[in-house]
Symmetry: D2
Subunit: 291 residues, 4 copies
Amino acid sequence: MDIGFIGLGEMGAAIVGNLLEAGHTVRVWNRTAAKAQALARQGARVVATPAEAFSGDAAISMLADDAALREVIDAALLERAPRGLVHVNMATISVALAQTLAQEHAAHGIQYVAAPVLGRPDAAQAAKLTIMAAGASEAIDRVQPLFDVIGQKTWRVGAEPQHANVMKLAANFMLASAVESLGEAAALLGGYGVAMRDFLDVVTGGPFPGPVYAGYGGMIAEGRYEPALFKARLGLKDVRLALAAADAVSTPLPVASVLRDSLLEAVANGDGERDFAVLGKVAARRAGRQG
Amino acid sequence: MDIGFIGLGEMGAAIVGNLLEAGHTVRVWNRTAAKAQALARQGARVVATPAEAFSGDAAISMLADDAALREVIDAALLERAPRGLVHVNMATISVALAQTLAQEHAAHGIQYVAAPVLGRPDAAQAAKLTIMAAGASEAIDRVQPLFDVIGQKTWRVGAEPQHANVMKLAANFMLASAVESLGEAAALLGGYGVAMRDFLDVVTGGPFPGPVYAGYGGMIAEGRYEPALFKARLGLKDVRLALAAADAVSTPLPVASVLRDSLLEAVANGDGERDFAVLGKVAARRAGRQG
Amino acid sequence: MDIGFIGLGEMGAAIVGNLLEAGHTVRVWNRTAAKAQALARQGARVVATPAEAFSGDAAISMLADDAALREVIDAALLERAPRGLVHVNMATISVALAQTLAQEHAAHGIQYVAAPVLGRPDAAQAAKLTIMAAGASEAIDRVQPLFDVIGQKTWRVGAEPQHANVMKLAANFMLASAVESLGEAAALLGGYGVAMRDFLDVVTGGPFPGPVYAGYGGMIAEGRYEPALFKARLGLKDVRLALAAADAVSTPLPVASVLRDSLLEAVANGDGERDFAVLGKVAARRAGRQG
Amino acid sequence: MDIGFIGLGEMGAAIVGNLLEAGHTVRVWNRTAAKAQALARQGARVVATPAEAFSGDAAISMLADDAALREVIDAALLERAPRGLVHVNMATISVALAQTLAQEHAAHGIQYVAAPVLGRPDAAQAAKLTIMAAGASEAIDRVQPLFDVIGQKTWRVGAEPQHANVMKLAANFMLASAVESLGEAAALLGGYGVAMRDFLDVVTGGPFPGPVYAGYGGMIAEGRYEPALFKARLGLKDVRLALAAADAVSTPLPVASVLRDSLLEAVANGDGERDFAVLGKVAARRAGRQG
C-alpha cells in the first residue's frame, strides 16, 4: 500500500520500520527532519509537508500529544486530502479531541480510524503491539493489512472512533494503578525488611502473571529506574487524559487522583524522565526511606 | 500424620477435606460444632476442646480474625501443648498479632510456622492454594507434606513468621487495588457507553492476563456480585490489616486509603456480603450510574 | 469615572449597581442583552459591542470563565482600546490565562489589573467584597476609588497580575476544603446520632468563627441546599482551576483531589445546581445515609 | 471540692494548677511520680495509687491514650470507688473505649462524665479551654464549678458520654483538615512565588478569622515548626481515632484518609515531634520544595 506517516518519535519510527520491511511504500514527515533521514536509509520517502504525507491509500499519524496533532491535522489538511483516504490516528490523545477529529473528518469526507496501541517502543519494534481500532468497518478493513504488520492483535472496538481512545486511557490508567500498587506494596514490605523480590516471585507466579507486574515490579525491587522504557512524565500525561475524560462525564476516579498526585511528586522531585516504575521511589520517600 | 485442625470455615473445611483424602488423621475443632459434624462423615475426629486439637505432630489453625484466634490460642493452650508440636497458622491475621504469636510460641518451646494462603475457597477445595510459609526451616520441612496436599505451590519466605503475614497483606492489597482499578475503569468506560466486556477482552488478552482481572472484571462487566467468592466485608478486613501494618512502620499507602473508603462505602450501602467485585458498583454509584 | 463593564451575571450586575449608585458613568455590555436592560433602568448605558465598553477611564470584566473571557477579550479588542485604559479583570480565571492576558495587555500598552474577589453575590450587593488586586501600582491607584465603592477591603498583592489569581484559587480551595471537612464531620457525627447543630455551636463558638463554618455548616446541619448561594458546579470549576494551577508547577494537592472527586459525585448525582454545601449530602451518601 | 486527678502531662498539670488556685483540694497521681512533685509545691497532695485519687467528690482523668487509661481505670478501681463519686474523663480517647467506660461505670454505680476539651496546653494554663461535656445532667451539674475554673465555656452535648468524644474527634479532624489545607495552599502559592504571609493576611482578615488559621498558617508561612504547641505525632493519634470511630459506623472520611497519610509521612520523615503545622513541610516536600 501507499502510506503516509506523520510523527517519527520512538513509536512512530519503529512502526514505519515494520511497514517498510513488509514492502509498503511509506512517505514520512516529521517536524524535525533529522528523524526522517534515518528512516530514508531504510527506504522511506521523506516528504516536506504533512499534506504530502496525507495522501495515498492511508495516512497514519503518531504524534506526541493533542497540541502536536492540532498543529498538523487541521481543516486545510483535511480539505486537500483525497476523498478515499483513510486516516489512522494511533496516538494517545484526549477523548475530547478524538470526538472533534471524528466530526471534522466526517465533515470532509475522510475516513477516520482511531487505533491507539498498547505496548512500548520495544513492542513496536518487535511488531507486537496490541491495537484497539474503532471507526467504520470498511475503513478498518482497508487498513487491517497494515495493522497485521505492526501488531500482534487488533481488537475492533466499535464504530465510534473515540471509543478506542477511551479504552486506551482506561488501560493506561489500569497500568498506572498496578505500578502504584506495586510501589506501595514494596514500601509496606520494606517497612518490615521483607524482600520485594521474594514477594514478586509469589505474586507473579500466582495471581498476577504477565509482563506488567514482573517488569515494573522488578524495577521497583531493584530500585533501578533507568533506562526508562515508559517515562513517568508520559505516564502522568496519560493519567491526566484519563481524569479529563472522566471529568467530562462526571465520573470520579479516586485512584487516578492518587496516581496523578504521585506522578506529580515524581516529576517535582526530578524523576519525570525516569521510568514509570519510579512510583516505587515516591512511595518509599513518603515512608522516609530510599526506593 | 496426626494433625489437629482448628477453625472450620469455608477455607478450613476445604483444607481438612484434602488432608483426610490424603490419608492423614485429622482431629477437628470448631466453635460451632455443627461444622465439625459434616467433616466427621468424611473421617475427621471431632474433639471437644481446642487443646485436644493442639496435639499430635502438627496443629493447623484457620480462624476468622485476630479476635477469634486470641480466644483459642492462649498461654494455657501453649503451656499444655506437646513440645515437639508444630503450629501452622494459615489465617490472615494482623502483623502485630503475628509478632506476638511468634514470641509466645518461642517462649513455650512450640514450633510456629505462619503459612497464610492465596486463593479462595474454590482454590482450597481444588488443593490449588498458594502457600507463603515462614518460620524455622526444620519446622516447615516437617509440615511440607501437608502443604503439598493442600496447595499447588509453597513459597518459603524466611525465618521470621510475621514476614509471611506481611506478604499476605501486601498481596491482598494488590488484589484490592486491581479490583478497584477495574471498577473505576468500568465507570469511565460506562460514561462513554463503551462495553466493559470488550475492554476486558483487550486487557486480559494483553497486559493483564490471569484470573484476577478476568474474574473480578467479568463480574463487574456483568454487574453480578453474587454468589460472593470473596466478600467485600472480608476484603475490607484485609485492607484494614494492611493499613494497620503500614501504620506501625510509618508508611503511607494512599491507594489503600482509597480502597478502605470504597469498601466502607460498599458496606454502608448494604453490599458487604456481596463479592469484592462490588467495588465496581461503588465506582458507578459515585458517577450517578448503576454498576 | 467613565467605566465600561463587561459581563453582567449575578456578581457583575451587583457590582455595576454599586458603581452607578456612587455616581460613576457605566457603559455595560453582556452577551445576552436582557440583563443589560435591567441595569439601564438604574442608569447604566447599554452598549452593543464589547469594544464600546472597552474604553473610557477603565474597563472592568467579570465573565463566567476562561472561554467566555477569550470570546470577548482578544487581540482586536486590545488593539482598538485607548492607550490610557486600565483593564480590571475581576473574574476567577485560570492562572495560565492570567499569565497570557498579562503579556497581551503589556504588548498592547494597556494597563492590566487582576482583581478577583472573595464573596458571593450577596456580598457584592452589599459592597462587602474582599478584593485581591495585583498589577502596576499606578494602575491600581487609578481604580482604587472603584474598589472602594464595591468592596470593603482591597489587598494589594504585588505587581504580577496572576499572583492575585493564584491567591483567589488558593482561597477557594481552602473554602472547599472547609466545606468538605464539615460534610465529613457531619457524616461522622450522624453515624453516632450526634446533632450537627450542637457540634457547630461548639466549633463556631471556638476554633472556627466566621461566616464560612457557620454558613455552610448550618446548611449541612439542616440538609438544606437551596437556594444556592454558591453552586456546587461553580465550586467544582474553581477546584479544577486550583488543580490545573498546581499541576503546572508540579505540586500535588491531595485534598484538592478529594474535593474534585466529591464535587464530581455531587454533579453526577444531580446536585450541581445546589449549594456547595451539598458536599455534606455526598459524605452522607457514601455512608449510606441521607444528608 | 475534694478532687482526685489522674494523669499529669502538660494538659493535666495545667488544669490541676487552676483547680488549686481556685481553692480546691486536689489529690494527684501520675505514673511517673516526678511530675506530681512539681504540683505538690503548688499545694497538691501526691498520692501513691490511682485508687487514692479515685475518691472524694470527683475524680478527673487526663491520660495520654486508651492504653494508658486502661492500665489505670479498671474493674478493681471502679469496684473500690465510693458510690457518690463523679468520674470526669477529659482525655481524648477512642469512641469504642468511651462506650465501654460508660457501661462499666454504670454497672458499678459510678457517675461518668466525658468532658474532652478543645485547646492546647497554653489554653489550659490560661483556663481558656472549651469543654464538651456529656453524661447525666445531675453529674455534670456537680462538676460544673470545676469546669468553670478550668475552661472558658462548657458545652453540654447530651446524656450519652461517648457523644462528647465523637464531637472531640470531629473537631480535631476539622482542625487537621484546616492545617492540611493551609499546607497545600502554601505549596500552591510557593509554586508561583506568592508569599504565604500575604495570602494569610487576606484569608484571616476575611473568610477565615480565628486562631486556627492565623496560628498554624503563620507557622507554615515562616516554616517554623518548633516549639511544638501540638505535636504532629499527637495529631496523627487523633486522626486515627476519628477514622476508627468512622469505620465502626461504616463512614468513609476521604479527607481524614489524606490527613493520616500526610501525618504518617511527617512522622516517617522525622517530624513527629514538631508542630502539627509541619503538614506544610510535607506538602512542600511533595512538590520538591522546602517548607
